[in-house]
Symmetry: C2
Subunit: 602 residues, 2 copies
């Protein structure tokens, strides 16, 4: 598709570029004497210059003749010159940051472009919310190439969201210049069953000649994966086993190897590549979800590259996986992803190919970050008021809201529960027996079984789902969040009803966010007033809020590292195995509602 993410289209500047390459006009900028990471041939070439004009590359090689009076010369002696990094699948909302603040957080780490799927805000605020993020992105140099969320709600019929997206919305948004494709098609059951709705959503994207991104999380790589790919879906980031990765690559699907804050598939699934001598053009590295602490303490794609190399992937291959491969996945390689004449001058200078320390980031030929800091200011952007007040509950929340009556006459009840697994997106269904107290089912910290509620917060329906979760280890207290994929209803987990009510009400007051409370006191709170998902604070402040929150979680007994991303997936009914939405418990293997209390017959 045409690239709208550039300073000027090539046809407006081709004559200028030719003049610069030919030494008849001075380059705006020349990077001199670096070690070029050539992602086209997978070679390192020593002593290379790059001449830049009008935001594009005019020449690679010896640029002596391109240097004139006004040319900025950047000495790259000792450094590597690589294409700027592209993240092929990312939800900005997971960083809790506005697009502007996210851009400021990742550009110094070498990221020049991202393909965000804004399905979190879309679930809350619909396409109006997406439009806000696009406007927010407009003030940044980061190439923010949005895909339209495909699955709002994530699993229709199983949850209530703030909005819904149909084929007509896809058709409309595919005409937007800022939209380059379709967001992750999580409704693989709909695709596999051949529903009109799912296939029309994909079809409208294909008709617009844009790219359909995927989400296929079944541990099945035969007829199901074939069918899913046959529907026109080009990439998938849901591989958790090496065999998933190689199966996708063999079927010509871009296998996006994930290294997010919470789900870190890379070290395991990299074996698909490192243990085989295969062409890796269909492999990419992506982050999916990164929380602010990771951005501050580890970085973004520079960190993922480091981990890839640690996992045994060749450094040049790894760089291809965040540059040319990603650009080819999105069929934008004619403009992005390599340092070749005519392309956008999106370039990083790296100190090394082990830690990938980024010395400088250029986007469209401009130095936008240097030595870890932005070198350019962004214009302000304020989200509209309606986007900042998105919690709409039917009833006031009190401790009584969280009562769970046991079946009449029972003194012990067998229930199904959700067991969460640290750093993995999958959970498992487990069974347990609870003693009934005063006719109620209560959290049982001895068994690490905690009451969990999902309260609808968009349309004041008053619906709520009730379940139990195992794995957080909380001994006393509660946590709540309006980040609760993908409907982002109000999620509350706790050991007692009073703390659960306090946690929920704290979020109602601040417009959403994440909170941990104990014994009637708020121990930590990260306010996320934009759609209950994001804040427009800088990443360092956001990370500090989250750090307090993490301490608070430890205080209440939670033993899991970064529990909030794991917790936030409790309602995501497109992932295995058992999930809880505002409509109830969902068995995600059969896509059916199941009761909390298990019949003896079961």
């Amino acid at each position: 598709m045409l690239n709208h993410f550039c300073k000027k289209p090539l046809w407006e500047v081709s004559q200028k570029l030719v003049a610069v390459a030919g030494g008849r006009a001075a380059a705006d900028t020349v990077i001199r004497g670096g070690k070029l990471v050539n992602v086209c041939t997978a070679e390192i070439l020593e002593g290379q210059d790059v001449a830049i004009s009008e935001g594009r590359i005019a020449l690679v090689g010896d640029a002596s003749a391109c240097i004139g009076e006004g040319t900025e010369v950047i000495d790259a002696a000792g450094a590597y010159i690589a294409p700027g990094f592209l993240d092929g699948h990312i939800h900005i909302e997971s960083s809790m940051l506005s697009v502007g603040e996210y851009a400021k957080a990742v550009i110094p780490h070498g990221t020049i472009g991202i393909y965000p799927d804004p399905h979190e805000i879309c679930n809350v605020l619909g396409l109006d919310g997406v439009r806000c993020m696009i406007d927010d992105a407009g003030r940044t140099p980061l190439k923010t190439m949005f895909v339209t969320p495909s699955c709002v709600p994530a699993v229709p019929g199983f949850e209530d969201t703030g909005s819904h997206i149909g084929p007509e919305d896809i058709k409309e948004t595919m005409q937007w210049d800022e939209i380059v494709g379709l967001g992750e098609m999580m409704n693989f059951p709909g695709i596999l069953a051949g529903t009109d709705h799912a296939h029309q959503i994909v079809g409208e994207t294909l008709k617009a000649d844009k790219v359909v991104t995927g989400h296929y999380s079944l541990p099945e790589t035969d007829s199901g994966l074939n069918a899913y790919i046959a529907a026109g879906i080009r990439c998938c980031h849901e591989s958790t086993r090496p065999e998933d990765v190689i199966a996708k690559m063999r079927l010509g699907m871009y296998a996006q190897i994930r290294m997010g804050s919470a789900w870190q598939d890379l070290p395991v699934i990299a074996r698909a590549i490192t243990e085989r001598d295969v062409d890796t053009r269909f492999a990419c590295l992506i982050s999916d979800d990164t929380h602010p602490n990771t951005l501050v303490s580890k970085g973004h794609l520079d960190y993922i590259l480091t981990e890839a190399v640690k996992a045994g992937i060749d450094p040049i291959t790894a760089i291809q996986m965040v540059t040319i491969n990603t650009a080819q996945c999105y069929r934008m390689d004619q403009e992005l992803g390599s340092i070749i004449p005519g392309k956008c001058a999106d370039i990083v200078l790296l100190e090394d190919l082990e830690h990938f320390r980024v010395l400088r980031t250029l986007i469209d030929g401009d130095t936008v970050a240097k030595d870890g800091a932005m070198t350019t200011e962004l214009a302000p952007y304020t989200y509209p008021d309606w986007a900042r007040h998105s919690i709409h509950l039917k009833d006031a929340i009190t401790p009584d809201t969280f009562k769970v009556p046991a079946p009449a006459g029972a003194d012990r009840v067998r229930i199904r529960a959700i067991e969460v697994i640290p750093a993995r997106v999958g959970d498992t269904e487990v069974f347990a027996t609870l003693a009934v107290k005063d006719g109620q089912l209560e959290s049982d910290t001895d068994q690490d079984l905690l009451k969990t509620f999902v309260l609808e917060r968009h349309h004041e329906t008053g619906t709520m789902g009730v379940g139990f979760v195992k794995g957080f280890g909380i001994k006393n207290g509660a946590m709540a969040s309006t980040v609760a994929h993908d409907a982002h209803n109000l999620l509350v987990v706790g050991t007692n009803d009073a703390d659960m009510a306090l946690a929920a009400n704290t979020l109602v007051e601040c417009g959403g966010g994440m909170v941990a409370v104990q014994d009637g006191k708020v121990l930590g709170c990260a306010a996320l007033p934009i759609a209950g998902l994001m804040n427009d604070e800088p990443v360092a402040d956001m990370a500090a809020d989250v750090a307090v929150l993490e301490e608070a979680w430890k205080t209440i007994g939670c033993t899991m590292p970064s529990p909030f991303m794991t917790m936030a997936l409790i309602p995501l009914a497109c992932l295995p195995e058992l999930r809880l939405t505002n409509r109830g418990l969902v068995d995600c293997r059969t896509f059916s509602f199941v009761p909390l209390v298990v019949d003896d017959a079961e």
Copy 2:
């Protein structure tokens, strides 16, 4: 860009494909138990099936469940299953065949798609001629993905053609579904000089989001090649040295390695790949110009693959170079070039990966050739009358037409001459001294210097260029051709004026073609009445005509193998070094007219 070269667009059949992959509907065809050449990962996978429905691939792997009552099952035991072959740069006119006959000639050799640049017919008949070829292609299963000729005339100001193409023509044709890009931009001097005309022609293609193909024949890979690529040109087939190939690949230009009938760069330039451990995704194999004898005796891309393997290229890599790499070059890999679900079922079965014997060719799921023969009939197509009468000379041709008066008073004259080199597109400028006879310059067979004329034949201007050529070795007789790149004026070479006149007039009578005469007798003639370039005879008949002609050439003394393709380049002023057009001798290093007779001062 959207793929118009399929049975049905994916969005119309995705539900059906999913049903077939899921075993809920029967495939139309299943290929069973072959060795899959996986071009995505560059692996051979044993025991693979391919299920096909609605002209597309539904499943790759185990297709047992896809076989129903109406399913055709093709046993591939022992055979390789590979994607059908794509030729990324080809001039159909060089085969002397109509598109229909060309398709019948190449499909049994595994070719499923070609990217023809119809610039020969366009030089003679303009876009109306191109439209005829598109209509001719419409009756064939061969995916004939045309590019609009970019350089008509090839080198403006240096020759007269039947037509000319400007930016407005490019803009118009880029809206045609059958046009996927711009034909070879031979006007690299215009690109490098930054002329509006050349850049606008490229620019209109880029604006339409289509692919610009190249032709950069300078032995220079620094600022010139950079400038040329910076203008937006994506591929080039004019590499004659390994260093040209690797330079282009490093600069992200698809290096199309040529193995045509007359110019066979592959054995030499393959070293760019075989002597380096590089990523080969930017390398392709193409034929450019193939004459009918080659198609009959050797084949098409199957032959080129064989030669590639002989040259040391790994067979899977070689197959990538005529499948996925070519599709990626044209940004059509979402539809073509690999055997993966959802893609067009364009498949070949191969006996081996050494001689690449093609057992069967499927296009859009239909078997169109088997064991070397077409299995499908084509509808007839007749070129219109105006396309079959394209020779328009001002004056009748007589032996006097070919007189070359010497400078007054001279008895010996120093001249410049064109020396042709067998099997290479380049020629060299040489100097020689001729004795004057009766005030005239004559052919001198002792020095192998032959009089050569190019007579304008499109607009009855009566212009003609005169020169001498060395290298054909003709001892007695003449040869003439209306295939004379790219203007396709009437080219005549000979030892005496009477035979030259007979040769020329023979072609005038039959509407064009190629002829050899001696002592007043026509020894061989291949009539090419369509635009003076093509015939609608089958390839075997055409090859037989050419075989007679080749014998005739030998009879008149020509020592060069397949001299007519070398001869036909004599007027092509975009190739080095010295060329002859209807306007005169052109020095192609300086792009200036030069006189036949050399000053002593020179």
